[in-house]
């Protein structure tokens, strides 16, 4: 499956929006302007962007502690996200959630999640829900290599398999769970091979190549949408930064390894491809880049100018 020009440009914009958001958020965090902690998605952009290119507003996703990229790719507003990181009343969660709990139910973003693996069974439930309601929507669960060792992964995939649910499990294998290298936390070479345990297709894709992700995800989403059941899609990727902003990420990774992966920066690779193979004019890309830069600047201004929540707001929104 090959993206149309429109789709390709959408993917490019999506990746840029993620990168720019994360870079700005990191800068703000390091300047002491954001509370809590942040896990950035830098380096993994091709995965969220390539997968989400197949999703409509009605489709749903569940996300993780490293969730900004998923939300952005699913269409979240940067200003509301930024305001949330600033803990402002105008943020997605009115300042009650923070980076790890960004959600937009109207866009099918069922929430980032501070608990590794927890989104996986929730995604199965959302997929079941769609089927019971006769909707032809698909749910995507994003999660990491580390998450694939949780009980929730196993139970969630098994449930989705026996019920043949319209869900795509996207494992972003960025080679580390916090400081722990993959070979320390699991023996299996390809996480996708775990699909065997559920008689589900398991697919490995190069997560630095947005085109490859687009193609593989297209297949999996189509299968789900057509009633063909779930897929486990493993994207081999890498986070360019530390586990969280503030972690240099160097005590447990070799500089050479980081460098090697950075050589395959998904945004640079895709930009090159758009220019050289798809013959998109540089000016078109530059225009997108400028738009994204402006959007980020506006998001920060919006957040900065937004009011903080009132203390009593803490007491609201517990029960419907």
């Amino acid at each position: 499956m090959i993206p149309t020009t429109e789709q390709a440009l959408k993917i490019y914009r999506s990746m840029l929006r993620i990168r720019a958001f994360e870079e700005k958020a990191s800068e703000l965090f390091l300047a002491g302007r954001l509370p809590g902690f942040l896990h950035t998605y830098i380096g993994q952009e091709a995965v969220a962007a390539g997968v989400s290119a197949h999703l409509t507003k009605e489709d749903a996703i569940t996300s993780t502690h490293r969730g900004h990229g998923h939300a952005v790719a699913k269409g979240a507003r940067l200003d509301l996200m930024m305001a949330e990181l600033f803990a402002r009343k105008t943020g997605y969660c009115k300042g009650k959630g923070g980076s790890m709990h960004i959600a937009d139910l109207d866009l099918g973003i069922l929430g980032a999640n501070g608990i590794v693996g927890a989104g996986i069974p929730i995604a199965a439930g959302a997929a079941l829900s769609a089927r019971l309601q006769g909707r032809r929507t698909v749910t995507v669960a994003f999660f990491g290599d580390g998450a694939s060792n949780t009980g929730a992964f196993h139970e969630g995939l098994n449930l989705a398999a026996v019920w043949n649910l319209p869900v795509v499990f996207v494992c972003e294998n960025n080679q580390y769970a916090e400081s722990t290298p993959r070979e320390v936390h699991q023996k299996v070479k390809d996480i996708a091979s775990r699909a065997v345990a559920y008689e589900m297709p398991g697919v490995v894709v190069d997560g630095m190549d947005a085109l490859a992700v687009f193609a593989a995800a297209g297949e999996a989403v189509r299968r789900a949408r057509e009633g063909g059941g779930p897929t486990l899609l493993e994207a081999k990727t890498y986070r360019f930064m530390g586990h969280y902003v503030g972690d240099p990420g160097t005590s447990y990774r070799e500089a050479a390894e980081v460098e090697r992966w950075k050589q395959r920066d998904p945004i640079r690779l895709f930009r090159q491809l758009l220019l050289e193979e798809r013959r998109i004019p540089a000016a078109t890309l530059a225009a997108i880049e400028a738009e994204v830069a402006r959007e980020i600047a506006e998001a920060v201004t919006f957040a900065e100018q937004s009011p903080e929540p009132d203390p009593e707001d803490a007491l609201r929104d517990i029960f419907a």
Binding site: D104, A118, L128, F319
Partner: protein, 324 residues
Amino acid sequence: MRKITYREALREALREEMRRDGRVFLLGEDIAQFGGSYKVTQGLLDEFGPERVRNTPISEAAIVGAAVGAALTGMRPVAELMYVDFSGIAMDQIANQAAKNRYMFGGKARVPMVLRTQGGTGRSSGAQHAQSLEAWFIHIPGLKVVMPATPADAKGLLKSAIRDDNPVIFIEHKLLYPETGEVPEGEVLVPLGVADVKRSGQDVTVVAHSRMVLLALRVADRLAAEGISCEVVDPRTLDPLDTAAILRSVEKTSRLVIVQEAVAQCSFASEVAAVVAEEALDCLDAPIRRVTALDTPMPFAPKLEQFVIPSEERIVAAVRGVCA
């Protein structure tokens, strides 16, 4: 009025709500053709079919997680956890997901789900099948916790729980299933958060819930002969708690005994005692007394189990104690 069992009352509530609202569906282990371990869902598969009465693998975390996901996206799942003792496996989904999603997401999510389960002793089920863990759930903001004692409350509260837009932990009692009582046909809703004075009295307030209501009522009968008049208050919903009803009763009687099948430490009985010690200390003419399970895992031998859980004798002694 017709009498039916607690089990039938629960089943009737499920059936009525499933007929009324196509978004309501059931999932859990062995709930379909087998009708559930305690046969509450028997016959529902026949009426509603396998899409709405779903047998699951032994995957408690996924059962609750799937309910959360379905609830977030427009359905109203009723999940069954075969024993409340298994909630340790699903506790993350219960406490970190179901309970907190709405709040964490700034009020934009709804999680209208019911987690039905059963607990309690009396069948020599042993330490891992006879617990009373309501305190775990009450301790978590964002959950409602319901424990009916009678068939009528079972039906009326379960219907309300299913209609509630929030996660409700609904804990039945394994010994109550065959108990019968008068239950109105059709639409009877018992509101969540409202206590019921199961017997009114003057001398002492006995707060009891779930099966302990039955013991408390028997004790009240016995003590009436001695001239001690017990008011038995059944909170029914433990969270949100109808503290006003408890305080009203204590203001009248000036004495408080709290009875529960759970152990004492950090329990519902502790909570009731604390609320009264904060809000109505001046009314009390005697120390508060908690009658609870002794501080042990639940033993298997019937004799030991009976020794550990509250008996009528221990309740009688406590009531006499505060009335002395």
